[in-house]
């Protein structure tokens, strides 16, 4: 339990949007306020899911809330995200989702057909991901006190055998694998909001990554050190978190990172870095050098993993940071995202 002696390092006077955007501010809030009070001392790095033991059986558990505007967008909707997001958080912690419970926060005045469409989307996504929705709760708030609807899903999963995920096991020489093209989700949402008046044939990548994770673990489980789905804050933020947690450097090669043309076009137009854009159906894996090729083959042989790439490796330096190299020998550091990606004109 928290005692008055618990040291709180979060000094910001109020919560700002950036605290929810998955970058440095989010990390400060979690590590500076939540972790010291709720988990106490001795808490290790914060992963995507907690692994707990009940009567000798180890299970993985995680929770995630979904707030997205618009509710529906090309390739998906809030309902699908809510299922896939939690399934994926469990998957990248090395677990297969078994059951979810769902909480809805609904705004009074929400049309029933919108809600029904989302509930159906959730049922479909759950069936596809092979997970049971075991229960739920609903709250309704006054009109104007929420934006249509929010969904929280909490899931438990069974740990996959033959894999042990921990940033502490990451070693220099290990390879960085990425399951497919990045930025589809974030750019789709940005365009779907309509404020920027941009159009593209682009769909969110929301999906369960479990089949890919299972293939990876089956073929190269012993070599898999760490996995993460790079959602808010993108690949740059996930890799920076890993670099910080494992204490090594990560060097990735820009040309190896798969990015679709229209995502690139939108990023050039809006001055964004694809490495900072959110994904909902990709994951990063750190695999030992010996098994990296096997792992890449396993991903590419699995439907949906055809575009997987080996994008870089773990190095001793720059300790705690991520370096991007280009084909012609230029290099730059890539940091975590500060707040949401904002379009820029200069």
């Amino acid at each position: 339990m928290a005692t008055p002696a618990t040291k709180i390092r979060f000094r910001e006077p109020q919560i700002e949007m950036a605290h929810g955007a998955g970058g440095k501010a989010s990390r400060r809030l979690v590590e500076g306020l939540f972790a010291p009070i709720l988990f106490g001392a001795g808490q290790g790095p914060l992963g995507d899911a907690a692994h707990i033991q009940i009567n000798g059986t180890r299970i993985a558990m995680t929770t995630d809330s979904f707030v997205v505007k618009p509710l529906r967008f090309p390739g998906g909707s809030i309902g699908e995200l809510a299922i896939n997001g939690t399934v994926n958080d469990l998957a990248v912690s090395g677990a297969k989702a078994e059951a979810l419970v769902v909480t809805f926060v609904l705004e009074a005045g929400l049309p029933t057909d919108i809600l029904e469409a989302e509930v159906r989307a959730m049922a479909d996504a759950a069936e596809k991901a092979g997970v049971v929705i075991a229960g739920g709760d609903t709250k309704v708030v006054e009109h104007g006190k929420a934006d249509h609807m929010y969904v929280t899903t909490t899931g438990i999963g069974r740990l996959l055998s033959g894999v042990e995920i921990s940033p502490g096991s990451v070693r220099p020489g290990d390879k960085v694998l990425l399951s497919g093209p990045i930025g589809d989700h974030g750019i789709t949402i940005l365009l779907a909001r309509g404020d920027l008046d941009l159009e593209a044939d682009l769909r969110s990548d929301t999906r369960s990554v479990l089949p890919l994770v299972q293939a990876l673990v089956r073929e190269a489980g012993k070599g898999v050190r760490w996995m993460r789905d790079p959602t808010r804050g993108g690949v740059a933020t996930s890799l920076n978190e890993l670099a910080r947690d494992c204490g090594h450097g990560i060097v990735i090669c820009e040309e190896k990172i798969p990015v679709r043309d229209s995502v690139r076009g939108a990023c050039e137009l809006l001055g964004l870095d694809p490495l900072h854009i959110a994904n909902e159906g990709q994951f990063l894996a750190i695999v030992s050098a010996e098994l990296a090729d096997t792992a890449l083959r396993a991903l590419r042989a699995t439907p949906g993993g055809e575009e997987a790439e080996m994008i870089g490796q773990i190095c001793e330096q720059p300790a705690g940071a991520v370096l991007v190299t280009t084909l012609y020998g230029g290099t730059r550091l890539v940091d975590m995202l500060v707040g949401d990606p904002l379009p820029r004109i200069c």
């Binding site: 920027l196 008046d197 043309d261 229209s262 939108a266 137009l269 200069c346």
Partner: protein
């Protein structure tokens, strides 16, 4: 100080002569042609886009010229390595400094 990128004019707006749909590798936006009203672009032209305005028409010929100059940069250097010792370096140098003659495509 100003982010501007190339896009291709796809179609002109039939309602408004000063607007066009411009494509940037699969991303489309309605772009204002008001700043190019002295020589309006036509579909197929490439323009430089900044804050939703076409700022300038992009010249394919000048871009090709630049690529040739850049390509020759290395070649001239290689050629110079070869002729070094014949007292021709200065001549080579001057040639390179002049603007590159336009080649027909």
């Amino acid at each position: 100080m100003c982010l501007a990128i190339p896009g291709k004019v796809i179609e002109l707006d039939s309602q408004n002569a000063l607007q066009a749909i411009v494509d940037v590798v699969g991303v489309r936006r309605k772009v204002d042609l008001g700043l190019l009203q002295d020589a309006p672009p036509v579909p197929g032209d490439w323009v430089l886009i900044h804050v939703g305005f076409a700022m300038s028409k992009i010249s394919e010929a000048d871009a090709a010229d630049q690529m040739r100059t850049l390509t020759m940069l290395g070649e001239a250097e290689a050629a110079m390595q070869e002729v070094r010792g014949y007292g021709l370096e200065n001549k080579q140098n001057e040639q390179q400094d002049q603007s590159v003659p336009r080649l027909k495509q």
